[in-house]
């Protein structure tokens, strides 16, 4: 059962001018089926709108994120992708003048319902940012466990958790001897993996990644993409990326966002394979073939 796509005009574009490479990359991935592990029933956005003051930035996005999958959000700059994922963990509301409409269901319950404890939501829906932001006043170990301290969570075995998270983030072997050094001493790629480990320590069901590799060099980027692939069996991942090759390499499903000067909208969503080789919407096709963006 593939997720529904919005605004489908029903055009079946038999695209002949495909960039062979993207669809090849996408086809080369092992296609994942929605997982069946204990990840909850997933995250669903229903008719989400977002405003910054008067400006209508995002319009009517409905998207399902299936447990255990990686979904990439692609599209040109400024079309609302980052705004959208910030509505998924209620970080959007920090911006002065922010407003929203619609629902975001986590395990079937709206995270914007009155009386919801927002800090608990953010424990279940974690985030990794574009620029790595480890806490400089803390050591590597303290950074990873920072989420526990912030939310005052009790854990029986901190060392095990520490090792597990760093292992899952692909950083353990590099830092296991210097867990007591400060977080700022690592390279950019290592810092970002540290941030991933930190996000994992509170055991989120979903991990949102907002262009996590755009500030990194290609080597670190590939390492993080490997990490994402390994993580997706235990965490649902949503990744915003400008890099279409990355989306093709890493994701199971891809959603294409576009803004025509007005609010950003989601134009099409489908399995990554489909989006890159047989996009249904002409705009999607134009984008993935590089005609704009």
């Amino acid at each position: 059962m593939a997720p529904e796509s919005e605004n489908s005009q029903g055009d079946e574009m038999e695209s002949t001018a495909q960039k062979g490479s993207l669809s090849d990359i996408a086809a080369a991935r092992v296609q994942k089926q929605p997982g069946n592990n204990a990840l909850g029933v997933g995250l669903e956005a229903r008719g989400v709108h977002a405003w910054f003051g008067e400006k209508h930035a995002l319009s009517n996005v409905s998207l399902d994120f299936w447990p255990g999958t990686v979904t990439a959000l692609i599209g040109p700059s400024g079309c609302g992708k980052s705004t959208f994922i910030r509505t998924l963990n209620r970080m959007h509301e920090f911006i002065p003048g922010a407003a929203m409409a619609g629902e975001v269901l986590l395990n079937g319950e709206d995270i914007y319902a009155p009386g919801v404890d927002v800090t608990k939501i953010r424990l279940k829906v974690g985030m990794v940012f574009q620029k790595p932001n480890p806490f400089p006043s803390m050591t590597i170990a303290e950074n990873v466990l920072a989420g526990l301290k912030l939310a005052q969570l009790k854990v029986e075995n901190k060392d095990d958790l520490l090792e597990e998270c760093l292992e899952r983030a692909g950083l353990w072997s590099e830092v296991k001897d210097r867990l007591g050094t400060h977080g700022g001493a690592l390279s950019g790629g290592q810092q970002q993996r540290l941030c991933i480990a930190r996000a994992l320590a509170v055991r989120p069901q979903v991990l949102l990644m907002d262009e996590p590799c755009s500030a990194l060099d290609p080597g670190s980027t590939l390492r993080i993409e490997e990490t994402i692939s390994q993580l997706s069996s235990s965490v649902t991942i949503v990744i915003v990326t400008h890099n279409m090759q990355q989306a093709a390499r890493v994701s199971d499903y891809t959603a294409f966002f576009l803004s025509d000067g007005g609010p950003g909208q989601m134009v099409e969503v489908g399995s990554t394979n489909d989006i890159f080789s047989r996009p249904k919407d002409e705009r999607t096709e134009n984008y993935v073939t590089g005609r704009f963006g």
Partner: protein, 270 residues
């Protein structure tokens, strides 16, 4: 100025005879201690209020009220010190005495709060309170500036991990701002040490060391200079100027240290 060497730093001495150079000796020890006592009270009372207010203004205040409050506090920084003196004398005095009596009643097992005689008006305590009010604008303003420079990406990281606002402050804002706030506190201390007119108005200036801050006697170097200047003989004036020099050096040290600390904030972020 060779009179600097005649200041006795350990003995409490009195200003004495007029022209008899040999009989009179000048030492400012009592007033130096008085300066520190009053300034410390000011800092102990004023700093928590200032830092708390700065945190509120940076992280909690709704935009509508924020500007008004910030302007109000900055305006207070421009009030003339004689205004604080008058206000302290006429308005704060009454509440101050009330608090002093209360402190004496419940806490007189602490030596500071004992009263050798039941006079509580115009005490170092009240002078300290007035000075606390005077340093609030400075310390609040500096603290606010420092807090507002807390790096946004770390703040977001803390929230994204599920932290409450206080948890975020503890993990990100406080470590970042710590040294800068210390600098701000020292600047407030420097201001409190040098204040003249307000202290003169509010404090009953008696030339002796008075550790019982609730008791009505005390002074600081600046107000003592002001007091004695009117009728001082030329010889005495030189001593007063020496006192002024000492005060200047003291405040210079405090302020320089403070500026050094403030300018280093944020470079390491710890």
């Amino acid at each position: 100025m060779h009179f600097l060497t005649s200041s006795n730093w350990d003995a409490v001495t009195n200003d004495a005879g007029q022209i008899d150079v040999k009989a009179s000796h000048f030492g400012i020890a009592a007033m130096l201690i008085g300066t520190m006592i009053v300034a410390v009270i000011a800092v102990v009372v004023g700093v928590p209020i200032s830092v708390g207010a700065a945190i509120y203004l940076t992280f909690y205040a709704p935009n509508a009220i924020k500007k008004i409050m910030v302007s109000a506090i900055d305006l207070m920084a421009a009030f003339p010190s004689v205004l604080f003196g008058l206000w302290g004398f006429f308005v704060l005095e009454a509440s101050g005495e009330y608090w002093a009596k209360l402190l004496n009643k419940y806490f007189s097992w602490i030596p500071f709060f004992k009263l050798p005689a039941p006079y509580v008006s115009r005490s170092p305590f009240i002078a300290g309170l007035v000075l606390a009010v005077m340093i609030i604008p400075i310390v609040t303003s500096i603290s606010r500036e420092i807090f507002s420079q807390t790096p946004l990406d770390r703040i977001q990281a803390a929230y994204a991990l599920g932290g409450t606002r206080f948890a975020m402050l503890r993990a990100v804002a406080f470590p970042y701002a710590r040294s800068g706030i210390v600098g701000g506190i020292m600047l407030g201390l420097g201001r409190a040490m040098g204040e003249t007119v307000a202290v003169y108005t509010v404090l009953n200036i008696v030339y002796q060391v008075n550790w019982h801050i609730l008791f009505s006697a005390g002074g600081n170097v600046a107000s003592m200079i002001l007091l004695k200047f009117g009728e001082a003989s030329p010889y005495e004036i030189k001593a007063l100027m020496a006192a002024g020099l000492v005060l200047f050096i003291l405040t210079l040290i405090v302020n320089s240290l403070a500026n050094l600390i403030v300018s280093r904030t944020g470079k390491s972020g710890r």
